[in-house]
């Protein structure tokens, strides 16, 4: 008998029924909620007459719209933001849902706090009304995004109706060179496979490079599965996973930890598991990556020249041309030396303590270039507190970074942190779409937190390996 992947096992364990539509009714172990995609769902729930079926399996926090500066006092200056957070408070209270609100040490970006609090564990199904839900896959959970109508379904039934995706195993082997981070790995994967390649697939990341990564590094990889088109991305759990969870607030108690590990091991991918597709990436050949265009697949290694239009397949040429025009770069150019206006370190991709430490190592004893506005936004209140205990906040502040409180901030510009005009931002976030960072003409170059720190210091895109 051939073995099974984690995906197959966890899917089976949670399949309630096959629906008349041919979809699977999948039971959801944990539902995470934030203030932006939930108010309509709670309204739909009321309209349907149903209540929240399993309130203990839902956790809420605020991250998308909240200010990250001194403007966190209530009521917010932005009346709409105030209305949204008030709606979440009311909905959570009425439905007995735990809310990690502003002022709570456990508040933070939803995909940062799940793992951090020990809520996210292997073998679970997890959904959230946010496309970066795959982040939780780094701990061996089957985690994916849902829309607002599906959110209503989960509230009412703790289930979703979904079609089963196929599986693709992406094996990443080799030792990453100095200055190369997990962000570079996922950008290289998206560039190689394309931004639409993951549609209809669950991605399993494996191989020696993944095994060598910390859990937080794996989160960065899984986080950007959706930028490659895949709603699900995960890493099969190992000893690192089990150790990461130990001692966290929602971790299993020490006396029954062995039992928990037994369950977690039982859902790990079998060595002879079958996949619908496989591909490999050589991590040892990678260099720091930077995006030059308007989707995350338009990326190059820092020493590469930008590709000629003739190098694109015909169907992609119009997009590439549009990207060059929008970003103000040209084929044949190098990105190193491109002047930036803003540096942003944050987002569910790269705002964890390890990301801040990596950036701080570059910033230590240096100053941000005079013309650059630099923002450091820790992913959670807990990450912020820990960084302050380690003195990392001082390094950021002394270098000239603004040191903010936890939230999504300038990743999507739903709060007051936005680009202005055509500003160019070196960003540790996940999307370089047109207008993504809050200005309809703003420009984003995605890179690792260390590369953002280097760009902030030099005032231009810089190979971080020259600074370490």
């Amino acid at each position: 008998m051939t073995g099974e992947s984690l995906f197959e096992k966890v899917w089976k364990l949670h399949a309630v029924a096959e629906l008349p539509t041919g979809q699977t009714q999948l039971f959801i172990g944990m539902h995470l909620v934030h203030e932006v995609t939930s108010p309509q769902a709670f309204d739909m729930l009321r309209e349907s007459g149903a209540g929240v079926a399993f309130p203990k399996r839902t956790f809420a926090t605020v991250d998308h719209i909240i200010p990250t500066d001194e403007g966190r006092a209530r009521p917010f200056k932005d009346a709409m933001a105030e209305k949204m957070i008030a709606a979440l408070e009311k909905n959570a209270k009425e439905s007995n849902i735990t809310l990690f609100n502003l002022g709570d040490a456990r508040q933070g970006i939803v995909h940062v706090i799940g793992p951090e609090l020990g809520l996210t564990q292997p073998g679970m199904t997890i959904v959230c009304g946010d496309s970066h839900t795959s982040t939780h896959g780094a701990l061996g959970a089957l985690a994916f995004a849902i829309g607002t109508t599906q959110l209503r379904d989960v509230l009412a039934t703790q289930c979703v109706a979904v079609s089963k995706p196929k599986t693709r195993r992406i094996e990443i082997n080799g030792a990453m060179r100095k200055g190369v981070y997990s962000k570079d790995v996922i950008l290289a994967i998206i560039r190689k496979l394309g931004v639409g390649a993951g549609a209809g697939y669950a991605y399993e990341y494996a191989g020696s490079a993944i095994e060598g990564m910390s859990i937080e590094e794996r989160m960065t990889v899984c986080n950007m599965s959706i930028e490659g088109g895949a709603t699900v991305g995960y890493v099969s759990p190992d000893e690192k996973t089990f150790e990461y969870i130990r001692g966290r607030p929602y971790a299993p108690p020490e006396e029954s930890y062995d039992l928990a590990v037994r369950y977690w091991k039982s859902v790990a991918s079998d060595p002879d598991a079958r996949y619908d597709d496989t591909c490999t990436i050589d991590a040892a050949s990678l260099e720091p990556m930077v995006t030059w265009g308007i989707n995350p697949g338009q990326a190059v290694g820092i020493s590469e020249r930008l590709p000629p239009l003739s190098g694109f397949p015909e169907a992609e040429r119009a997009n590439a041309e549009k990207a060059y025009k929008y970003m103000g770069v040209a084929p044949g150019e190098e990105l190193a030396g491109k002047r930036i206006d803003v540096a942003f370190i944050g987002s569910c991709t790269n705002s964890r303590i390890s990301d801040l430490r990596e950036a701080a190592a570059i910033l230590s004893g240096r100053k941000v270039s005079g013309h650059v506005k630099a923002l450091a936004v820790p992913g959670s209140s807990s990450v912020k507190a820990l960084a302050e205990r380690e003195g990392i906040d001082r390094i950021f502040k002394e270098a000239g970074f603004e040191w903010r409180s936890a939230g999504c901030s300038m990743c999507l510009g739903m709060n007051p942190d936005k680009l202005v005009g055509t500003q160019l931002c070196a960003s540790s976030s996940n999307r370089n779409y047109i207008g993504r960072q809050g200005s309809p003409t703003g420009r984003t170059m995605l890179m690792s937190p260390a590369m953002v720190a280097a760009a902030a210091i030099e005032g231009k895109v810089t190979d971080v390996r020259d600074m370490e």
Binding site: H14, V16, A17, L19, P20, T21, G22, Q25, F27, V36, T37, A50, A53, F54, I65, D78, A81, M84, D104, A105, Q121, G123, G129, D130, S131, T133, A145, G147, T148, T149, D153, T157, V160, A161, V162, S163, G196, A199, G229, T231, P249, Y250, P252, S256, L259, Y263, A315, E316, K322, V383, A385, L386, R389, L412, M414, R431, Y433, G435, G438, P440
Partner: protein, 213 residues
């Protein structure tokens, strides 16, 4: 029981380009609403309007396409975020079905959930349809879901759609909630058998300033 969707007849709006993402469909700043009611006004806002609200050239602004009920697109349409606001905006703008080469997964799920069929056609057929409605803006398309065909100028073009979605639309059972509620008892049994070692509900509200690094 929801509305049965078998046939959609109307004029079409062409929107060229691969990888049109959800931030372009509805910029994030317009998600700051607690209902979907105004989303139709925000569809492709930054591509349709300039800084001072002046109209830019865009198919959604072109009066010749006003009242169109079918949207034609290229590849990987709707990539990006999970915001249901994106298909909601398009539907509330007046679109009832989208024809394209391919669609992003979450966008597909959301469109299905709100009863807006997505029909997949080949690159050649997409090009034929785009060109045809660009040249004759009042051309009428007839979509038959049971026949999986789009008729334009007497020519029939086949499309594909996941069987689950097709069945749901033609039987009028695309509202997932009633289907899921029917198995509520089974879901409860499955939950009781889960071997999760979590301590959901067992952790007290410490709320302290502890950092979990």
């Amino acid at each position: 029981m929801d509305t049965i969707i078998k046939e959609i007849v109307g004029r079409a709006l062409p929107l060229r380009g691969n990888d049109i993402d959800t931030d372009r469909i509805v910029p994030a700043r317009f998600l700051k609403e607690i209902t979907f009611s105004r989303m139709g006004e925000y569809a492709f806002y930054d591509e349709r309007f300039g800084d001072s609200g002046e109209k830019k050239e865009h198919p959604f602004n072109n009066p010749a396409y006003a009242g169109a009920s079918i949207l034609i697109v290229n590849k990987n349409f709707g990539c990006g975020s999970s915001r249901e606001h994106a298909p909601q905006a398009i539907k509330r703008f007046g679109i009832r079905a989208i024809i394209g080469e391919s669609f992003a997964t979450i966008f597909s799920g959301n469109s299905f959930a709100i009863g807006m069929p997505l029909l997949r056609v080949s690159a050649e057929d997409a090009e034929y349809l785009l060109k045809a409605v660009e040249e004759n803006k009042s051309a009428e398309l007839r979509i038959s879901l049971p026949d999986k065909s789009i008729t334009l100028n007497g020519r029939a073009i086949g499309f594909s759609i996941p069987e689950a979605e097709l069945n749901a639309f033609v039987t009028g059972r695309w509202d997932s909630l009633s289907l899921l509620l029917a198995n509520a008892e089974k879901a409860k049994q499955l939950e009781a058998g889960l071997k999760y070692p979590n301590r959901f509900g067992a952790v007290h509200d410490s709320g302290g300033a502890q950092a979990y690094g």
